[in-house]
Amino acid sequence: MRGESGRRVVVTGLGAVSGIGIGAAEFLAGLRAGKSAARPVTAFDTEGFEHAMACEVPDFEPGRWIRNLNIGNLGRASQFSVAAARMAVADAGIAEDALRAVPSLISIGTTDGESGDLDQLVETEVDLGPERMDPTVARRVPAGRLSAVIAEEFGLSRTEAVTLPTACAAGNYAIGYGYDAIRGGDVEVALCGGADALCRKTFTGFYRLGTIAPERCQPFDKDRKGILTGEGAGVLVLESLESALARGARIYAEVLGYGLNCDADHPVAPNQDSVARCMRLALDDARIKPEEVDFISAHGTGTRANDITEARAIRQVFGDDAPPRTVSIKSMIGHSMGAAGALASIACALALTEGFIPPTINHVETDPECGLDVVPNEAVDAELRVVQNNGLAFGGNNAVVIFGKRGTDWN
C-alpha cells in the first residue's frame, strides 16, 4: 500500500476490558490517575510459587455485555473479546443492522487463545483421565473463536473473522490489518484489537524464565524486576474518514500508518536493529518524521532485556539528544499479551483526544542505560498531534502503529 494514497482511516469506537477499568471512560480515568491493577493471582492455584502477583480483571460480568451468545460456551478470553467489541460498537454509535449491512473485518490478536481452558483440560486429563475432560470446555479452545464469536454475537455474515497469533505484538498486527482493509476499500468497518486471559501456563513460563516481578512492574526503572502478567481485551472500530464524517461520528484519532517485521533472530530476546527498522517502517508508512512524534507508548514490559533494547532502538531512530517521552502503560495494567497492543492503542487514541500523556507508574529512578523521559508516576497534560505505539513479541515479531490527532491534515 505504501506510496498509494488510499482512504484515510479513523478510530471511531473504543472498547476496553482491563485491570484498571472496563469501558473507555473507566479505562481513561485509570490511565489519568495512574492506577495499578496489581493484586495476588486468583485465576489458578499458586502454591509452590514464591510470589504470584498479576493484573487480573476483577469482577468481570460478561452478562452485562454479551447479549446473544451462551456465555458458558465462551472461554474467558472470548468473553473479553466479545465484551470489548460490544463496547466499541456501542461507543461508535453504529446500529447492529447497519453493521450487518456492510462488508466488515474482525481481526483479533492473541498470545494464548483459551490457554486457561487448556490448563484445566490437561489438569483433568492428568488427575482423572481423558474421558473426564469437559466437552464444552474442549469446544471453547480453538483460538480462531476469539474473532469468530464476535461475528456470531452480532450476526455478521459479510465479514472476515481472523485471529492473529503473533503473541505480544498481535494487537498491533490486528490494527494494521484493519487499517489496510479500510484504506484499500475492502471493507467499510473493521473491529480490531486483541484479547487474552490470565493463565497458569504463561505465568509459569515467564516465572521459569525469571522474568516475573515479585510485586510491581517498573518499566525503564533502574531496579526493574520483570513483568506482571495481565489480561483483558481492547477493540477499536476503524472506518474511513468519509464514512465517519458522513454519519457524524466522533473521531478519536486517525491511523496514520503502521509497520511490522519479523527477524526470527532469537526465541525471546528482542533485536535492537530490527526493532529500529520496524519503527522506521511505521514512520515511513505514516509519512511522519521522527521529530513529529509527541510521545511513544512503549512495549515497555519491565524486563531487563526488553527495556534496554527498546530504549536503544528508540534512540537509534529518534537520536540521543531529545527522544520523545516514552511511557509504558504495562506499569498499570501489566502485560496483557495479545491485548497489550490494542489496549495501548486505545490509550494512545484517548491521549490524543483528551490531551494528556499517561504515566509510567511505580517509577523510582530511571535506568541511565535507558535514558528516557518516562513521564514518571503522574500523567501530564500535553497538546499532542502524533503518537507511536510499539508492540514487540517473542520470535522477533514487531509491530508499530502511528496515530494522529483528528481533524489534522498531515500532508
Binding site: 521459569r208 524464565l209 525469571g210 532469537h266 526465541p267 525471546v268
Partner: protein, 83 residues
C-alpha cells in the same frame, strides 16, 4: 559412595545431553555448553528446571553463571542438594 557419585554424574550428563540434543560422547567434564555445544539462555533454564525436578532441589537462577559445563553443573547441584 563412589558408585552414587558416578550415578549422579551419569544422570546429570544424560539430562544435559538430552536437552542440548548432543551425543554423550561429544561432551566432556569441561567442554563449554554455550561455546562448544550451541546452548543458549533458554536451554540453560531448561537444564536448570530438569535438575530441580530430578534431584528435588531448588537452584537459584543466579547459579546459571556457574553452570557452563558438566563440572560446574555438578558443583551447583551438589551445593543445592548438600551432597
Amino acid at each position: 559412595m563412589a558408585a552414587i557419585v558416578e550415578e549422579r554424574r551419569e544422570t546429570i550428563k544424560e539430562i544435559v545431553t538430552d536437552i542440548l540434543e548432543i551425543d554423550p560422547d561429544e561432551v566432556t567434564e569441561t567442554s563449554l555448553f554455550k561455546e562448544e555445544h550451541d546452548a543458549d539462555s533458554l536451554r540453560a533454564i531448561e537444564i536448570l528446571a530438569a535438575l530441580e525436578k530430578t534431584f528435588n532441589v531448588v537452584i537459584d537462577q543466579s547459579e546459571l553463571g556457574r553452570m557452563v559445563n558438566l563440572k560446574g553443573v555438578y558443583e551447583v547441584v551438589s551445593d543445592a542438594a548438600g551432597w
